[in-house]
């Protein structure tokens, strides 16, 4: 644990927790403008959260601790990832947790907690949403692991900070086939994992198709605010990982105030750019049928596997 890691970790936490609703607001605004609507403004998710946080949270009759703990678990696991992953600085506050496997497991833990909460309500929608989420996550987790693993092969370490540092020292690596294959695979699984458009539509409550919304139907008040906040934070964390694993430029390597400032600015710019691209893509994309989703995820798994194979077999440029 060093000073850079601690300062960076606190900065990252504040950025992700405070900026995630703004990212969602920006993406909604981009979509609204492209669809010819005025839009509610970038601050609207924050206003919604403030309203929900003032309200009493009501748990449905017959639900147990699983339902009550799930929002807290979801928020806290995501916050831990925001604290340790290399977003603003390459150093990590708690470096053993900045490991590829630990980060993916933490993110999966949050998803599983939410799915269990959906089951705990005992309603048809909660169970349906949980079952769909488990179908998707069963294909997403291996792809997520394998695609980042493809990048870690060359570094010889599964530490995310080490992967980012090595990409920073060797910028030519960004256009290698390994990076391209892994980036496409990671992009697809991030869209699936955060419930964005081709897989799940975040802006509807249509019973036949919803995945994430079905699990959160029974939450109210503060709990609902936490769940919504956490899903926004997850999107920010995933987009930040995608950006920094493949385009790490601007990330702070020293604790100088200027370097940290550049790191923060680069992180915000990269995530905003990726979020904007995702929103623009969503305007033109239609939702896939649920039975076609495994096809999409199997394809991205294959790309991730090819990336690992290529990183072992293709010649190293040195």
């Amino acid at each position: 644990m060093n000073a850079l890691g601690v300062i960076g970790g606190i900065l990252q936490c504040l950025l992700v927790i405070g900026g995630a609703p703004l990212l969602i607001g920006m993406m909604r605004q981009v979509r609204a403008r492209l669809e010819g609507r005025a839009g509610a403004g970038i601050g609207q998710p924050w206003r919604d959260l403030r309203k929900l946080l003032r309200k009493e949270s009501i748990a449905p009759h017959g639900t147990g601790e699983v339902f009550r703990v799930a929002p807290l678990l979801l928020v806290s696991t995501t916050a831990v990832v925001a604290l340790v992953a290399p977003f603003v600085t390459t150093a990590s506050a708690v470096s053993p947790v900045a490991d590829l496997f630990a980060v993916v497991a933490l993110l999966a833990l949050g998803t599983v907690a939410l799915a269990l909460a959906g089951l705990d309500t005992g309603t048809a929608f909660g169970g349906m949403g949980a079952s769909r989420e488990m179908t998707i996550i069963a294909l997403v987790e291996p792809t997520l692991l394998v695609s980042i693993f493809a990048l870690s092969v060359r570094v010889g370490s599964t530490d995310l900070g080490a992967i980012v540092t090595s990409a920073l020292h060797d910028p030519a690596r960004v256009i290698s086939p390994v990076s391209l294959l892994a980036a496409v695979a990671l992009g697809v699984v991030i869209i699936a994992e955060t419930g964005r458009l081709p897989v799940d539509n975040p802006s509807t409550h249509l019973e036949l198709t919803m995945v994430h919304e079905a699990m959160t139907l029974e939450f109210a008040g503060r709990d609902l605010a936490l769940v919504e906040w956490a899903s926004a934070m997850r999107l920010t964390v995933f987009l930040g990982l995608l950006a920094n694993l493949f385009v790490p430029w601007g990330i702070a390597t020293s604790a100088a105030p200027l370097a940290l400032l550049v790191g923060v600015a680069a992180f915000v710019a990269k995530v905003a750019l990726l979020g904007g691209l995702l929103a623009v893509g969503e305007v033109f994309a239609a939702k896939l049928r649920l039975f076609r989703v495994p096809e999409l995820l199997a394809g991205s798994f294959l790309l991730a596997l090819l990336a690992v194979a290529a990183s072992f077999f293709l010649a190293q440029p040195h």
Binding site: L180, L181, E295, A298, L303, L305, L306, A309, A315
Partner: protein, 220 residues
């Protein structure tokens, strides 16, 4: 051209070969498949062009231009014409193996391709031979497309995919077997596509469809 740049361009062309062959397996629209196939032809030509620049060989350069014209221009155009003649049936709706399983099968084929080309790579390890597993994977995926698709046109794409893979392996292992050989092989491929195109047209005229599974009985 520096060694690092050469290796990177070579690897990039190989990565493009891989991605396009996966896309052929992934997509159902025949128009998209043909476009992807044209892109793969361009990637193959780029691969040969990189080898030509590295060796400073004019012959290889000519072969690269020939490959570009044939695989990214003439063959896709022929396929597109056959598709336009086919009329409304533009999708391979029910491959014998569903798309998700065939993608997973392709993953196994990729590992198999890497396994069987290891002795080849060990013979003369260099940047070019280390990319041989990619060519082998393309061959295997092409064969898989050939045996699991129902429509004659998508089987033809599988055959061409296989041929692209064989050409890639040939150039990566030998740096070109001479323009005469390559010219002969390319002409053969062109002949096969022309013959198969005529055959497809005849089949559709006679039976009204090119789904090979429907051809169960002999007619006159």
């Amino acid at each position: 051209m520096s060694h690092d740049l050469y290796v990177q361009l070579l690897d990039l062309a190989c990565g493009l070969l891989l991605i396009t062959s996966v896309l052929v397996l992934w997509r159902r629209e025949l128009t998209v498949i043909i476009r992807v196939f044209a892109l793969q032809g361009a990637a193959l030509a780029a691969l040969v062009a990189v080898l030509a620049v590295r060796d400073g060989s004019v012959e290889l350069g000519v072969v690269a231009v020939g490959l570009l014209v044939l695989r990214a221009g003439v063959l896709p155009a022929l396929l597109r014409r056959a598709l336009a003649a086919a009329g409304e049936q533009r999708r391979d709706v029910r491959p014998l193996v569903n798309v998700a399983s065939s993608l997973l099968a392709a993953a196994v084929l990729a590992l198999l391709g890497h396994a069987i080309s290891r002795p080849l790579v060990a013979l003369a390890p260099s940047a070019a031979t280390q990319a041989v597993p990619v060519g082998m994977t393309v061959v295997l995926i092409g064969f898989f497309v050939l045996v699991t698709r129902r429509r004659a046109l998508s089987q033809l794409v599988g055959f061409l995919l296989m041929d692209n893979g064989i050409t890639a392996v040939g150039f990566l292992t030998t740096s070109g077997a001479g323009p005469a050989v390559e010219l002969g092989v390319s002409l053969d491929v062109l002949m096969v596509v022309l013959v198969l195109q005529i055959l497809t047209t005849r089949m559709r005229d006679t039976f009204g469809d090119t789904d090979l599974d429907e051809l169960r009985e002999l007619r006159d």
